[in-house]
């Protein structure tokens, strides 16, 4: 049982780490992330990179949907903007990758702000449909503006480069993706210790009350859209560098739903939730693949059912979590922690 951690200031209450134990655990986690690529095989490495990208994007959506209460069906479109920006920059300029990623993030943020403009007039589900419209428009641009986006064939890009080093394989990409993911997670966590982040939360809880309390709604809603799109843009840029090809089909509507599912399963309005959800949802298809591989010798038609089954599992996870565990995996995690904190007593 943990004792003796009474807090005397609000600052202490809001600290990122309240105990040394937490700091030690976090250091161990970082160490594990650092050692991981050296011990993992290529498949695990590939998964690690995918998870990193998903974590960044899910955190971005969590800022918008989980913390500000603005539901968005445009996440895939935003990631597409980031991906295409990086691809175009890589083909037409010799920009080192950090600048390209930054540009992707900023451009996506700008587009996110434009998409967020209707939030002046509409909210809730109407806003969700407005973001759906935005993703339809973006998809149209991706596939029809062939001069820039390469049309349906898409763009292939050169590997990321910095100071003469090329990041041409998963092992090297891991060292871009994972540190960036950790950095952006810490940044997101810190946002919600500041005035801006608290304004987001106030808007989510009741926007009219927030306005009465002196929070300019439009400004903060647009800020949330911008910040969230920045994350999506960076994730999309990493996605482009990782797969080294972007086509309109890389960013389907199903991807937006995937990220919504990730933050629901993980836990809306919790940074940890976004992370857990992104990891979980990225690994579910892989788990199904494993299962298929096990079943195939006994039932040769199993691979045919793989992709539709994935749809069923995704849907069931969304519905199941919403019905039975609305606060997601983060809540389960909290309960486990609580058990150990209070041990040997029970709640």
């Amino acid at each position: 049982m943990r004792i003796g951690d009474a807090k005397h200031t609000y600052l202490a209450d809001e600290a990122l780490w309240t105990t040394t134990t937490q700091q030690v655990w976090f250091a161990l986690l970082l160490l594990a992330l650092l050692v991981f690529p050296f011990v993992a095989n290529s498949y695990l490495l590939y998964l690690g990179c995918l998870v990193g990208i998903a974590v960044i994007s899910a955190t971005g959506l969590n800022i918008l949907t989980g913390f500000t209460g603005l539901i968005s069906l445009g996440q895939a479109g935003f990631m597409g903007v980031g991906g295409y920006t990086v691809a175009w920059l890589s083909l037409h300029t010799a920009l080192p990758f950090p600048l390209a990623l930054l540009a992707a993030g900023l451009l996506t943020a700008a587009i996110g702000v434009v998409v967020g403009l209707p939030s002046l007039r509409v909210k809730g589900l109407y806003l969700a449909i407005a973001t759906l419209a935005a993703s339809v428009f973006l998809h149209f641009i991706f596939s029809e503006w062939a001069a820039v986006t390469g049309g349906m064939a898409g763009l292939s890009l050169r590997p990321a480069q910095l100071l003469g080093i090329t990041f041409h394989n998963d092992f090297r990409m891991y060292f871009i993706i994972m540190p960036l993911a950790v950095l952006m997670l810490l940044a997101a966590r810190n946002v919600f210790r500041t005035r801006v982040g608290r304004a987001f939360i106030a808007i989510r809880d009741r926007d009219i009350s927030a306005e009465v309390l002196g929070i300019p709604l439009l400004k903060y809603k647009l800020m949330s859209f911008g910040l969230s799109s920045f994350y999506a843009g960076v994730a999309g840029g990493l996605f482009a560098y990782f797969f080294r090809v972007v086509t309109p089909e890389s960013f389907p509507l199903a991807m937006s739903i995937f990220y919504l599912a990730a933050i629901i399963v993980g836990g809306m309005g919790s940074i940890l939730g976004g992370v857990l959800g992104a990891i979980f949802m990225t690994l579910v298809p892989e788990g199904l693949k494993l299962l298929t591989a096990v079943v195939t010798p006994f039932y040769p038609q199993a691979p045919v059912f793989m992709s539709p089954l994935l749809g069923v599992v995704f849907g069931s996870l969304i519905v199941g979590f919403l019905l039975f565990e609305p606060n997601g995996l983060a809540e389960i995690w909290r309960r486990i922690r609580r058990f150990f904190h209070l041990w040997p007593f029970r709640t």
Partner: protein, 292 residues
Amino acid sequence: MDWLFFGEVSLAGLATGGLYSLIALGFVIIYKATRVINFAIGEIMMFAAYLFLSFAGGMQLSPWLALPLAVLGGTVLGGVVEKVMIRPMLGESPIAVVMVTIGLASILVGLAEIIWTADPQLLPDFLPREPVFLGPLYLAPKIAYGFLIGAAVLALYLLYFRFSRGGVALRATASDQAAAYSMGINVRRVFNLAWVFGSLAASLAGILVAATGGLSPQSGVIGLSVLVIVIVGGLDSILGALLAGLFVGWLETVAGAFFGGEYRLLATFSVLALILVFRPYGLFGTHEIERL
């Protein structure tokens, strides 16, 4: 510009729009009574159409027997979904409920692919095949008869809501839930009724749409067009749904015929964006006033 061609395309578009109106009606019934935005309506349509395919094609039933059976299947599906998934979400945030319907859509698409495979299929012909002429304008018979059936059902619905006991209960619940409850209306049954009627309209429309355009597990994306219709018409307005259905059907077909298929969604979503900016509650929707 070829006016004859434009006339024919417009006519086909309006007739398709009639079916859209029927789907939109199903959507609006559910929204009006239960305040749930049903993203899965396209998938319910798709599912009912597949049931029809199984009954009429696989089991060799007469289409006129298969049609009511399939509609019944879709309706039961709607009722069960309400009981199992939507009822427990009462009082949750609208976003959560919408996500449940999105999850449901994903489940239905997956199930349809598992049961009926992902390949596009054609429904057996059951509508008359003689070409229909309205003056000089030709109209594909499937679309024409689909429109007639759809319009007849629409009229029945409107009469039902106007005059029957259940219809009055539904309208009462839509206008004020608490008042309806205190007047002895069984609000929970009304919720179920709304889902049943909404799914019924969607199932019938789904079969008629699939009869003209073919069927695949991805057919449910038509739900996106329906979303546009109900936003343009106003989420809680039946009249709006009817008019906007005709309009969006017309716009989609004309845009598709004159600019190419990829412009269909673009055209309708442009209208949607304009409506959202200038008249967010739709042409005929109620402007809700929020109070703290």
